[in-house]
């Protein structure tokens, strides 16, 4: 069908490509959440100091 020949391939705008690619969006959504909320949060919880020795000593000695 000649009258339905494709127009020469138009470059799909970059942003449009991102918007339409749901697998990419899935990846980005999961990654941003995993890094900022989970990873950062877990790192902070794992690196807390103990109660300072002098405070403990002032009570227990």
């Amino acid at each position: 069908m000649d009258n339905e020949l494709q127009k020469p391939e138009e470059r799909v705008p970059f942003y449009r490509m991102i918007m339409d690619d749901f697998m990419l969006l899935l990846f980005l959504g999961v990654t941003i959440y995993a890094i900022f909320y989970l990873l950062w949060g877990v790192m902070e919880l794992s690196n807390l100091p103990a109660i300072p020795e002098e405070l403990k000593d002032s009570l227990l000695k």
């Binding site: 807390l48 103990a50 109660i51 403990k56 009570l59 227990l60």
Partner: protein, 306 residues
């Protein structure tokens, strides 16, 4: 279109003036909200703290007990009362189902509160100022408070912690001048202990033993069941207990005993040996109490005459 694919050229359609205006306003608002939160950390007086220490329930319980022992000036409804020095470290323990100690604070002074739990999560909720923080076991949350108004405050628990959750309520009073203590019945309390002289004297007089015993009574939780006002709902009252003739069941047999030093010692170390008649449904658990503390308790019980 929401059901059918969007119209041709949708990607290039110009945004209408009003939608554009709204989006700009919304973006400005969003940025301002973020800046506001950050600025409040600089200029505002209320910010959640960023100071937390990792601890264990055993360690924090020990510290809390030591703190109360060191600083107790009296009791209120069986809970130790502490009057901390301004700018000092205060230890607040949450457990199923009470807050301790009760605090006497000075208006406009700062106190570093170390708050942790002996068991599950609790919710530290000061009313009526309505300040609410989360309390964890294994974590010491250090919040520096400065009360801005005098008065009586209660600490409710607003994180579900079991069937007794709604009975969990503590107290803090904020005073401006010494006379305010009268408002709460605290005027006869000892003066705040001098932090420098915490060495125990060689041997305590009977009165000092009794005072220590009162601390133990409050600290160890005896107060939860053994009241000193004569009521015996969950356990025999301690009022008039010493020297009393009591009916108990031992090895299935009913006997009559006299409440003396030996009986009290046995009842604490081995509560199931003799069960007071009438209290079979509320068995007493074993509490960790040292021999020295038992002697102090006995001295205290002796002072609770009819």
């Amino acid at each position: 279109m929401s059901l059918l694919s969007p119209a041709e050229g949708w990607y290039y359609k110009k945004v209408s003036k009003d939608e554009k205006m709204w989006m700009v306003i919304a973006l400005v608002l969003c940025i301002m909200l973020f800046i506001w939160m950050v600025m409040w950390h600089v200029y505002g007086r209320q910010n959640p703290s960023s100071t937390t220490y990792k601890t264990s329930t055993a360690e924090f319980s020990k510290l809390s007990e030591a703190y109360i022992k060191q600083n107790m000036v009296g009791t209120d409804k069986g809970i130790p009362v502490v009057r901390p020095q301004p700018n000092s470290d205060v230890f607040i323990l949450a457990e199923m189902w009470r807050w301790s100690p009760v605090l006497i604070l000075q208006k406009d002074q700062a106190y570093k509160m170390h708050i942790s739990s002996r068991d599950v999560l609790h919710g530290f909720s000061i009313q009526p100022v309505n300040m609410n923080f989360q309390v964890y076991p294994q974590y010491d949350y250090v919040l520096e408070f400065k009360p801005t108004e005098a008065g009586e405050y209660k600490v409710i628990c607003n994180e579900f912690c079991g069937i007794g959750h709604h009975t969990m309520i503590g107290k803090m009073v904020v005073i401006e001048k010494e006379e305010d203590l009268k408002l709460y019945g605290y005027e006869n309390f000892k003066k705040a202990p001098d932090l420098k002289s915490t060495k125990k004297p060689e041997s305590l007089s009977e009165t000092e033993m009794a005072l220590q015993g009162e601390q133990v009574y409050a600290l160890k939780g005896c107060a939860a069941c053994h009241k000193t006002d004569g009521t015996s709902q969950l356990a025999p009252t301690w009022k008039g207990l010493y020297g009393k003739e009591e009916k108990v069941t031992e090895n299935g047999k009913a006997v009559s005993i006299k409440v003396d030093d030996a009986y009290i010692k046995e009842s604490i170390k081995n509560p199931q040996q003799k069960i007071t008649v009438g209290f079979e449904n509320t068995p007493m658990p074993v509490f960790p109490v040292s021999d020295e503390e038992i002697d102090q308790l006995i001295a205290y019980i002796k002072t609770l005459k009819n």
